[in-house]
Each structure stands twice: as structure tokens, then as C-alpha cells.
């Protein structure tokens, strides 16, 4: 595994993603998701769609922040967590 050049931060990142996917799978088995229309435009979404949209938009938000600001990356991280919760709950 040395060739993969692991670091603690990336390991935590991937464990977080894996945990999220496992949790979503368990949630889907226990409480199957039903498509619904929230504040996201045009499309009705399932729980998985909303997670994907939340994560992808957060990634672009991080990139935009890094391109335009010298401030700490914890700022977009915090905003992204809030955004992800909003998308999952009301999206």
C-alpha cells in the first residue's frame, strides 16, 4: 500500500466517504427513499441524488473558494456541511 502514498488526512477523508455510503445503503434498506420535489430546481430527487448533488456542489464550492481566497479551507468546509444538511433535508 506504500505506493498509494497514504496520509492521515486522506485516510480520514475516504473513511468518511465510505461510512457515508454504508450509512446511506443501510438507510435505503431500512427506509427506502421516495422521490420528492424540494427546493432544488426542475427535478424530483431521491436521498442518494441529494447526497450526490450536495457532495458535488460542495467540491466545486471548495475549488471556487481556493481559487478566490487565501483564507483557511475550514471556512468552505463548514459552509459545505451546512449546505449538505440543507440539501438532504429540504432539497
Amino acid at each position: 500500500m506504500e505506493w498509494m502514498a497514504w496520509s492521515l488526512v486522506t485516510a480520514i477523508f475516504f473513511i468518511g466517504i465510505a461510512t457515508l455510503l454504508i450509512a446511506m445503503t443501510v438507510a435505503e434498506i431500512k427506509h427506502p427513499s421516495v422521490e420528492r420535489k424540494g427546493f432544488l430546481p426542475i427535478i424530483a430527487t431521491t436521498r442518494g441524488d441529494r447526497l450526490f448533488i450536495g457532495l458535488l456542489s460542495s467540491a466545486f464550492f471548495h475549488l471556487g473558494f481556493l481559487a478566490l481566497s487565501e483564507s483557511s479551507v475550514w471556512i468552505p468546509f463548514g459552509i459545505s456541511i451546512l449546505w449538505l444538511i440543507c440539501v438532504l433535508r429540504w432539497g
Binding site: 502514498a5 497514504w6 496520509s7 488526512v9 486522506t10 458535488l56 466545486f60
Partner: protein
């Protein structure tokens, strides 16, 4: 009464595919993420956080490559999609001529990318190339090696020559799937050729067109071998697209950290566009 039986054990059948995808895509992607936050030397590495991301996002060379890439993909779609529809509409509906047309159309698709680049490199040469020498012979000062506009037009023409067939074949299959009853109804209504196209053929082609647009966008967005062989990215950097910039960075300069960060940005753009197209297709199907 709901007779649908759910058996989640069927998911085990996809495990071999998951294992294959893990080895071919997920593990390499994870490695790229690891590289993107570290400065890797021969036997050691230093964690640099988001430094490479800040560097590449503010790199004018990458920004100009990205703009060129979007302009190129946009131009490819603007030319190839209408041309592909036109070719499909003009093709014979059945018989030997239809088979011959299909074979001829499929031929450019079978040629490897680097060979296409070589063909057009020779074809466009001002001294010996059929197209280049002809254009210069009739008084047009054409030289793709020194003039950026000529280089762009040649790369675009090469892509149109190589890939319009794909759009045409997709549209042809879509057109053949339209039931004859629609045309008979249009004939009874004395509909013009334009009305038949606008209200019958085009709506029925929607699904294949979305697939065609998606395929052509993704492929043109990742173009590498053809312009690399034809122009080498020049003159200057005028035809240097994203994948070529990335290759230069990773292999030419051995800047693995910035190249990894750039790869992830590239991947996210491709992912976003794919998702937008996928959502559009699903949305259109649901609306039907």
C-alpha cells in the same frame, strides 16, 4: 396486489464488476487524491494540504487550456450534431445503398486516434498534402504549423471527419425506429418536409441526440492524441487542450502533486457534465 418479490441477494452478482471497477478506477483515483495533497520526492513525501489546488486554480496556463477546451467542445457539438442529423436524413432508408452508406460511415470510427492525426498531418501539409497544397494552389495562405486559426480549423475539421459518423449512425438508428404510421398521418395532413422533421423526426430523435451529445462532449473534452500528433499543441499553445497540459505537467515536468490536483478538477468537471446529461435524459424520459 403487489406480486413483486424483492431479493437483495442478487446484489452479490455485481460483486465481480465492483472488484474490477475498484482495481481499475477507485484505487487509482484514491491514489491521485493522496498525491494531490502531498509533495512527493523519491523516497519521502511532505503533506502540503490544499497548496497544489490553489496553485493550479490560479495558473493562467491551465485557465487558458480550460477555456480552449470548452470552446473546442462547443464548436465540435455545434458542427457535428446538425451535420450528423443532416447525413442521417439524407441516407437511403433501405437496400444495398443503405448498407453501403453504413459501412462508409463506420470507417472513420475504426481508425485509431493517432493514425487520424497522422493522416491529417500529411493531408494538411502545405508542400505535399492534398488539402494544404490545394488551398495554397488556389491562393489561400494556409499553414496549420504557423497560423493558429488554420491549426484550430484543421483540428476541428479532423474531429468532424472522425466523429460526425457516430452522430449520423445514432440518428439513423433513431429515424429507422419511427413507426411508419407517423409519416402516413403527416401525409394525410399534407405536412411539409420541414413540419415532418420539426414535429415527428426531431422529437423522436431526442433520446439518441442526448446520448450523441453526451458522447461527443465527453470525448472531445478528453481529446489528446489527434491534436498532439497533428500540431503538437501549437503554434505556441493555441491547440494545447487540457489533457495535453496535464500530460506535460505529470510526465514532462514530473510535477505529480499539481498534476494530481489538476486531474481531480478535470474529473469533477467531467462528472458534473455527465450528471447534467444523465439528469436531462432521465427527466425527459419521465416527462414522456
Amino acid at each position: 396486489m403487489n406480486l413483486k418479490v424483492k431479493n437483495n441477494k442478487a446484489w452479490f452478482l455485481v460483486l465481480p464488476v465492483l472488484a474490477l471497477v475498484a482495481f481499475s478506477a477507485i484505487i487509482p483515483l484514491m491514489t491521485v487524491v493522496n498525491y494531490s495533497v502531498q509533495d512527493i520526492f523519491d523516497n519521502s513525501s511532505v503533506f502540503v494540504g490544499t497548496e497544489w489546488y490553489r496553485e493550479i486554480l490560479n495558473d493562467p496556463r491551465l485557465q487558458s487550456s480550460l477555456i480552449r477546451q470548452f470552446v473546442f467542445s462547443g464548436a465540435v457539438l455545434l458542427v457535428e450534431i446538425p451535420l450528423g442529423i443532416l447525413v442521417a436524413l439524407m441516407m437511403p432508408k433501405s437496400g444495398r445503398m443503405a448498407s453501403l452508406c453504413l459501412v462508409i460511415l463506420a470507417m472513420p470510427l475504426l481508425i485509431p486516434w493517432n493514425v487520424v492525426g497522422t493522416i491529417w498531418q500529411i493531408f494538411g501539409r502545405a508542400d505535399i498534402g492534398l488539402m494544404g497544397a490545394f488551398l495554397n494552389g488556389i491562393g489561400i495562405d494556409y499553414n496549420y504549423a504557423s497560423n493558429p486559426i488554420d491549426a484550430w480549423l484543421t483540428v476541428l475539421l479532423m474531429d468532424v471527419w472522425h466523429w460526425t459518423s457516430l452522430v449520423a449512425l445514432l440518428c439513423y438508428s433513431g429515424l429507422r425506429a419511427i413507426p411508419d404510421a407517423y409519416y402516413q398521418a403527416a401525409k394525410i395532413d399534407q405536412a411539409s418536409a420541414w413540419a415532418v422533421f420539426r414535429y415527428i423526426q426531431l422529437p423522436k430523435l431526442r433520446s439518441v441526440l442526448v446520448i450523441g451529445i453526451l458522447l461527443r462532449f465527453m470525448d472531445s473534452f478528453m481529446i489528446y492524441a489527434e491534436p498532439f500528433v497533428l500540431t503538437g499543441g501549437g503554434p505556441g499553445n493555441s491547440t494545447t487542450f487540457l489533457s495535453q497540459t496535464l500530460t506535460k505537467m505529470a510526465i514532462g515536468q514530473f510535477d505529480l502533486g499539481p498534476a494530481a490536483a489538476f486531474s481531480l478538477v478535470y474529473f469533477l468537471i467531467v462528472l458534473l457534465v455527465s450528471w447534467l446529461f444523465f439528469t436531462t435524459i432521465t427527466h425527459l424520459d419521465n416527462k414522456k
